[in-house]
C-alpha cells in the first residue's frame, strides 16, 4: 500500500457509547445532599482509528466485550456512532440517515457470524441473494438478475438447483456461502465480516477462509475481518488491530505483529492461544483476573488492572498509540520505559 492510495475505509476516532437506561428507579441514587439521577453509559468503543487500502484484509482481534463487533456494526451503520468519522472512499457516512445510506450499501456489505440467524427462513435462497441487488437497482430486468444470481451461487460453490431451496435445507457452511453470495451481489469494495467462521466446524472453516481469500483476489475486495481466533487471523489478514476494552492497543502488519508483539496484552493473547505444535520457547505472559466493566473504565491505561508490568504512571496517564516503524503502533508506557519490561 502506498501512502498516496486512497483507502477504501478510513476510521477516525470512532466512539460508540450505549446508555444503559433502565427505569427511573434503577437510575435513582441516594447520596449526600439528597437524590440524584445517574445515567450510566457503556463505553464500547473509545476512539478507534485505522485505514484499509483497496484489496487489503484488516483484522480486529480481541476477547469478548472488547468492542470489535461494535466497531464493525458502527462502520456498517447498524449503529450510529456516538462520535468520530467513518470515511468510505472519502465520504463520511458516520451520521448518514437511512436514505443516504442506500447508495453507500452498494459499496459496503456485511457477513454475519451466525449463519442460522442471518438468513430469513421463509425466503428462498434466490430471493435472499437477490434482495440487496433489487434494492440497489429498482426495476431491474428479472432475467438478468436471475442469471447473475446463478453465477454468484456457482462462484461461492453452490449450484443452480440450490436457488429454489430454503435456508433450513443447508448446512452451516453452505449457509455461510449463501451469506457471502448475498454480500457479493452488489459488487461491493468492502466487506465487513463479523466472526464469519467461528460458528463453523474446523474443516468447513478452512473452506470458507479459502473462498474469502479467492474472492479478494478475484474482485479486489477489501475486508474488515472481526475474529477472536488468532490462528484464523494469522492466516487471512494483511494487517491486524488488537482491541481491549474499546481501545486499540496495538496495530501492525500481520508478520510484524506475530513476530514482535509489543503490547503486554498482545503478548499474553499470543501465548495463551493453544497450539497443536509442541511449545516453542514462546514468551509466556499468563494473565490473571478478568476484563473490567465497560461501565466504569479504569483510569489511565485500560489494561493496567491485569497487566503484570503496570506501575503508577499507568493509572495516571492513558497511553497513546505511538509509531515504532514497520507500520507498528503500540499504546503502552513500556515503550518509553523499556527497562521496566522484565517478566
Amino acid at each position: 500500500m502506498t501512502a498516496a492510495e486512497t483507502p477504501v475505509l478510513e476510521v477516525r476516532d470512532l466512539q460508540m457509547h450505549f446508555p444503559v437506561g433502565g427505569g427511573i428507579l434503577d437510575r435513582l441514587r441516594l447520596g449526600r445532599g439528597g437524590v440524584r439521577f445517574e445515567n450510566p453509559v457503556v463505553h464500547a468503543v473509545n476512539g478507534v482509528s485505522f485505514r484499509i487500502a483497496p484489496g487489503e484484509i484488516m483484522a480486529l482481534v480481541g476477547e469478548s466485550g472488547c468492542g470489535k463487533s461494535t466497531v464493525a456494526k458502527s462502520i456498517a451503520r447498524i449503529y450510529r456512532p456516538t462520535g468520530g468519522q467513518v470515511l468510505l472512499e472519502g465520504e463520511d457516512i458516520a451520521q448518514h440517515g437511512f436514505a443516504r445510506m442506500l447508495p453507500v450499501r452498494a459499496k459496503m456489505q456485511m457477513i454475519f457470524q451466525d449463519p442460522y440467524a442471518s438468513l430469513n427462513p421463509r425466503q428462498r435462497v434466490r430471493d435472499i441473494v437477490a434482495e440487496p441487488l433489487l434494492e440497489q437497482r429498482k426495476g431491474a430486468d428479472r432475467a438478468t438478475v436471475r442469471d447473475e444470481i446463478a453465477a454468484l451461487l456457482a462462484r461461492v460453490g453452490l449450484n443452480a438447483e440450490h436457488a429454489g431451496r430454503y435456508p433450513h435445507q443447508f448446512s452451516g457452511g453452505q449457509r455461510q456461502r449463501i451469506g457471502i453470495a448475498r454480500a457479493l451481489s452488489v459488487r461491493p469494495n468492502l466487506i465487513v465480516a463479523d466472526e464469519p467462521v467461528s460458528a463453523l466446524d474446523v474443516s468447513i472453516q478452512a473452506q470458507i477462509l479459502n473462498l474469502m481469500k479467492d474472492l479478494r483476489d478475484e474482485f479486489g475486495l477489501a475486508y474488515l475481518f472481526i475474529s477472536h481466533d488468532l490462528s484464523v487471523v494469522h492466516h487471512i489478514a494483511d494487517s491486524v488491530g488488537v482491541m481491549y476494552l474499546g481501545f486499540m492497543v496495538e496495530k501492525a502488519p500481520r508478520d510484524v505483529l506475530f513476530a514482535r508483539p509489543r503490547h503486554p496484552y498482545t503478548r499474553a493473547l499470543l501465548s495463551a492461544a493453544p497450539s497443536i505444535k509442541p511449545r516453542r520457547d514462546v514468551e509466556e505472559i499468563a494473565l490473571s483476573g478478568e476484563v473490567p466493566s465497560a461501565l466504569a473504565l479504569p483510569s489511565g491505561c485500560c489494561f493496567r488492572t491485569r497487566c503484570p508490568f503496570a506501575w503508577e504512571r499507568c493509572a495516571a496517564e492513558r497511553p497513546k498509540l505511538q509509531a515504532l516503524g514497520d507500520g507498528q503502533q503500540v499504546a503502552c508506557h513500556l515503550i518509553d520505559e523499556p527497562e521496566r519490561d522484565k517478566a
Partner: protein, 331 residues
C-alpha cells in the same frame, strides 16, 4: 492382585446409542469402544454430529427418550453402568463420575446461591456435618482460584463472570472427589486468556487428585495440550485412536490428517488451507462402505464396498481405514 490394577477405570465396549426420531433412526453412537486408565486424560475429538457429547451423556446414564442405549457395555471399575438402575446411577453421578458442561451460563441453577449448589453435592454424597461441608466448599473454591470464598458462597451465579462461573462448575465437579470427570467442551464458551487459565487449573486439579478425565472437544489444539490419548470420532464411530503425540505428528486416518491440516498454522507459509471437501453426510442415511469416503482423497473402489475395521497402525495408532497413511506420507 496384579490383574486388578490392570483393569481400566472405564472401559466402553461397542457402545450404541441411537435416537428414534420421526425422520428415522439417528445412530449417534454406533459401536464405540475405548478405555481410560487411572489418572489418564483422554480426548474425544470430532466435528458437530460426531457423537462425542452423546458418549459423555451415555456414560452418566443421561440419555432421554427418544434416545436409548441399544447395546454395549460401560464398565466403570468393573460395574456395567449400561445395566445399572437409576438409583445406582444417582449414587455414582457426582460422587464417582462428575461432569463439566460446555455452557457455564446454563449449568448452574440461577435461583440458588453458589454455596447451596456446592453444599448439595456434599450433603448427598458424604456424611460431613454442616460446618465441615462449609469448610470443604470454601477450600475448594479457593483451590480453583476464587478469592474471598466465604463471601462468594452467598453469591448467585449471575454475580459471576463466565470464567468465574466455569471455575465454580469445576469446583462442584471436584467436590466429592470423583475418580472420573467428563468435561464436555469446558472452555469453548470462554475467551482465550480465560481458557488457558481454566485448562491449567483442570490439569493441576486432576494431577493432584489422581482423577481421570474424558475431555470432549472439537478443538484439536486444546486436546493436544491436555490429553494423553486421543480418540477421533466421525459419524458415531471411532476412526482413529492413539497416543496424543503419535496422532498429531503422523495420523494414519485421512480424516484426522484433514482435521489437522484445516487448522491455520502460523509456521507454514502456504497461502491456502488444505481443506476437507464437502460436509458430514446425513447420519440417517450414511453411505455404504466407509462413512468418510465421499470426502476422502485416498478413497478407492473398496471403500464404497466394505466398511473398514479399526486395525493396528504405526506406533500406538489404531485406525479404521483401508488405505491408511504411514509416517512421511503427504496427503
Amino acid at each position: 492382585m496384579a490383574q486388578e490394577s490392570e483393569t481400566p477405570l472405564l472401559a466402553v465396549r461397542d457402545l450404541r446409542t441411537w435416537f428414534h426420531t420421526f425422520s428415522g433412526v439417528v445412530k449417534a453412537v454406533n459401536g464405540v469402544s475405548f478405555e481410560i486408565g487411572e489418572g489418564e486424560v483422554m480426548g474425544l475429538v470430532g466435528e458437530s454430529g460426531g457423537g462425542k457429547s452423546v458418549i459423555g451423556f451415555s456414560v452418566l446414564g443421561l440419555i432421554d427418550s427418544p434416545g436409548r442405549i441399544e447395546g454395549g457395555e460401560i464398565l466403570f471399575d468393573g460395574e456395567d453402568l449400561a445395566q445399572a438402575g437409576e438409583e445406582r446411577l444417582r449414587h455414582i453421578r457426582g460422587r464417582h463420575i462428575s461432569m463439566v458442561f460446555q455452557d457455564p451460563m446454563t449449568s448452574l441453577n440461577p435461583l440458588h446461591t453458589v454455596g447451596r449448589q456446592m453444599d448439595e453435592v456434599l450433603r448427598l454424597h458424604t456424611d460431613l456435618g454442616a460446618a465441615e461441608r462449609r469448610k470443604a466448599c470454601i477450600d475448594m473454591l479457593e483451590s480453583v482460584g476464587i478469592s474471598r470464598a466465604a463471601e462468594r458462597l452467598k453469591a448467585y451465579p449471575h454475580q459471576f463472570s463466565g470464567g468465574m462461573r466455569q471455575r465454580v462448575v469445576i469446583a462442584i465437579a471436584l467436590l466429592a472427589g470423583p475418580r472420573l470427570i467428563i468435561a464436555d467442551e469446558p472452555t469453548t464458551a470462554l475467551d482465550v486468556t480465560i481458557q488457558s487459565q481454566i485448562l491449567k487449573l483442570m490439569r493441576r486439579q486432576i494431577a493432584e487428585k489422581g482423577a481421570s478425565m474424558i475431555l470432549i472437544t472439537h478443538d484439536l489444539a486444546v486436546v493436544s495440550e491436555m490429553a494423553d490419548h486421543i480418540t477421533v470420532l466421525y459419524c458415531g464411530k471411532v476412526v482413529e485412536r492413539g497416543r496424543t503425540r503419535d496422532l498429531i505428528e503422523s495420523p494414519a486416518h485421512p480424516y484426522t490428517r484433514g482435521l489437522i491440516d484445516s487448522i491455520p498454522d502460523p509456521a507454514a507459509r502456504h497461502d491456502r488451507l488444505r481443506q476437507i471437501p464437502g460436509s458430514v453426510p446425513d447420519i440417517r442415511a450414511l453411505p455404504k462402505g466407509c462413512n468418510f469416503r465421499e470426502r476422502c482423497p485416498r478413497a478407492q473402489a473398496l471403500c464404497a464396498e466394505t466398511e473398514p475395521d479399526l486395525t493396528k497402525q504405526h506406533r500406538s495408532l489404531w485406525a479404521a481405514c483401508h488405505f491408511p497413511l504411514v509416517p512421511g506420507d503427504v496427503q
